[in-house]
């Protein structure tokens, strides 16, 4: 079964990590079973988003068949600056989506810059993936409140509630047709509940691969251990991410 991972990170200098050559990272991802990956910065979430967007774009330049790069911006830099960076990431860097991490980037979803950033990302055709599941800035329903204000933007809860809030993530997904859930780091029993109760067309596989070792193969094993039939897993592993962001792989 082909697998596209909708939640991976380019290792950087943060969180005890070290940068890895992209060729080596791709080989490791392929060895763990991936046919493609949405790739986010790690260092750029902690600062200097523009510089780290450049680093990510340069890293994947020869690997666009495998990686879909996501940029980041920080709404605390101001609406205009964030939107300018989004435009640059689309037109100059060929980014394909936006990653936001309100916990690490230290902004509230209710900050006035967030809504226009989400709306603009939607206008650019960027899906927006959030870290979610961590109070006080990234609860699933905080993100859903913004998704309601930007209905044309595809919003992805990057951890489907991250265990404590998975039931809120289910509510968000069922209420808002522009919300997808990424089953990344959500424990297996809760992932099974999410698959049972959410529209399967809006579920994605994710692993946080690149952030720590061995995450991808364990995340794949986790979904295979659920009671979801192969036809459902095929949508989660491949059809849905491929429909949202086609990769040539």
């Amino acid at each position: 079964m082909k697998i596209i991972d909708a939640h991976t990170h380019l290792p950087g200098w943060s969180f005890g990590s070290r940068p890895r050559p992209i060729r080596e990272l791709r080989r490791a991802f392929e060895d763990e079973g991936l046919a493609g990956a949405w790739l986010f910065t790690t260092d750029g979430l902690l600062g200097e988003p523009a510089r780290n967007n450049d680093i990510l774009a340069e890293a994947v330049a020869e690997h666009r068949d495998f990686f879909a790069p996501f940029c980041t911006v920080n709404p605390l830099d101001g609406t205009d600056a964030a939107i300018r960076e989004l435009d640059r990431c689309k037109s100059k860097l060929g980014m394909r989506g936006l990653k936001l991490h309100p916990w690490v980037q230290a902004f509230s979803m209710m900050h006035p810059a967030v809504e226009p950033v989400l709306a603009h990302a939607g206008n650019l055709g960027f899906p927006v993936i959030f870290h979610d599941g961590t109070p006080p800035y990234t609860s699933s329903l905080q993100i859903a409140a913004l998704a309601e204000k930007a209905p044309q933007t595809t919003i992805i809860l990057g951890h489907a509630g991250l265990d404590d809030l998975y039931e809120d993530a289910i509510l968000a997904c069922r209420r808002h047709p522009n919300i997808y859930l990424c089953l990344c780091s959500t424990s297996g029993g809760y992932s099974e509940q999410i698959i049972r109760h959410c529209p399967v067309e809006r579920l994605l596989f994710g692993s946080d691969g690149g952030f720590m070792p061995n995450l991808i193969k364990l995340a794949i094993a986790k979904l295979h251990e659920t009671d979801a039939p192969a036809s459902v897993l095929r949508k989660i592993f491949y059809d849905n991410p491929q429909r949202l962001l086609p990769l040539p792989a």
Binding site: G133, T134, D163, D164, S185, S187, P213, N214, A221, E225
Partner: protein, 242 residues
């Protein structure tokens, strides 16, 4: 041999959840499991949960041991429930602050811990949910009751991973259980406090045994450390005889 120190059962009046769990044990070669009453049993229906679990333990003594629940807000009634549960064969206390509505550091839990201290029973606490079940809150409790063994359930997954090793270092009577948490944090715990204070758990039904066992295997632990994590430490902690 694998001992699983983190299993919750809901709906024990029906045989299906127990059968589902016993099937999991057989499929994954888990020789013994430490089971706690879940959800409503943990929050409100403590007496029913303890009685049903004690019955299961008597029916499956080779496979199952049981933890008692007693909501601290029940006061002296909770103490009585706990004493009775221990008399009925349950062998530790399960604290679930998010379900039971208290912070680990609140003094209302002290009378229960005094029972555990007097009767030499370990305490397994769910951790990882702010603001009531954080690693340093459990370490504070462990310092308050240094003669009681505490287990940091789910290794504070998801978001308190930075705190796990630091909390363990504060209290030698604090152990950590591995379910849900990523392997790198389990390794940090091993590095911080050595291989005697880490216990395997599947976290069923929140997580699943297959992937949790695969996680520990993927860490590449030396055979003697693997054996401690998967079996020996739990046997010592819970007083399980071979």
């Amino acid at each position: 041999m694998i001992i699983d120190s983190a299993v919750c059962l809901a709906g024990m009046a029906d045989s299906a959840p127990t059968k589902a769990w016993l099937d999991q044990m057989a499929r994954h070669a888990i020789t013994h499991a430490v089971v706690a009453p879940a959800d409503g049993y943990a929050a409100v229906y403590n007496e029913e949960g303890n009685a049903l679990l004690a019955r299961l333990v008597r029916r499956y003594p080779k496979q199952l041991s049981g933890l008692a629940v007693a909501n601290p807000w029940l006061g002296t009634k909770a103490v009585g429930l706990l004493e009775k549960a221990f008399d009925d064969g349950l062998m530790g206390l399960f604290l679930c602050p998010p379900r039971q509505g208290f912070r680990l550091t609140e003094s209302i839990v002290d009378p229960l811990l005094e029972v555990c201290c007097r009767r030499h029973k370990p305490v397994y606490a769910h951790t990882g949910t702010p603001i009531c079940s954080e690693p340093f809150q459990l370490a504070e409790l462990a310092r308050r009751f240094p003669e009681v063994t505490f287990i940091m359930g789910h290794a504070a997954y998801p978001d308190f991973w930075y705190d796990v090793a630091g909390a363990l270092q504060q209290a030698p009577n604090l152990l950590v259980e591995t379910s849900c948490q990523v392997a790198a944090i389990i390794q940090q715990a091993l590095d911080a406090v050595g291989p005697e204070r880490v216990l395997f758990g599947s976290g069923w039904p929140r997580s699943k045994p297959g992937v949790e066992i695969l996680k520990i295997r993927s860490m590449g632990l030396a055979d003697d450390i693997f054996e401690k994590v998967m079996h020996t430490n739990a046997a010592n902690c819970w007083g399980l005889k071979p």
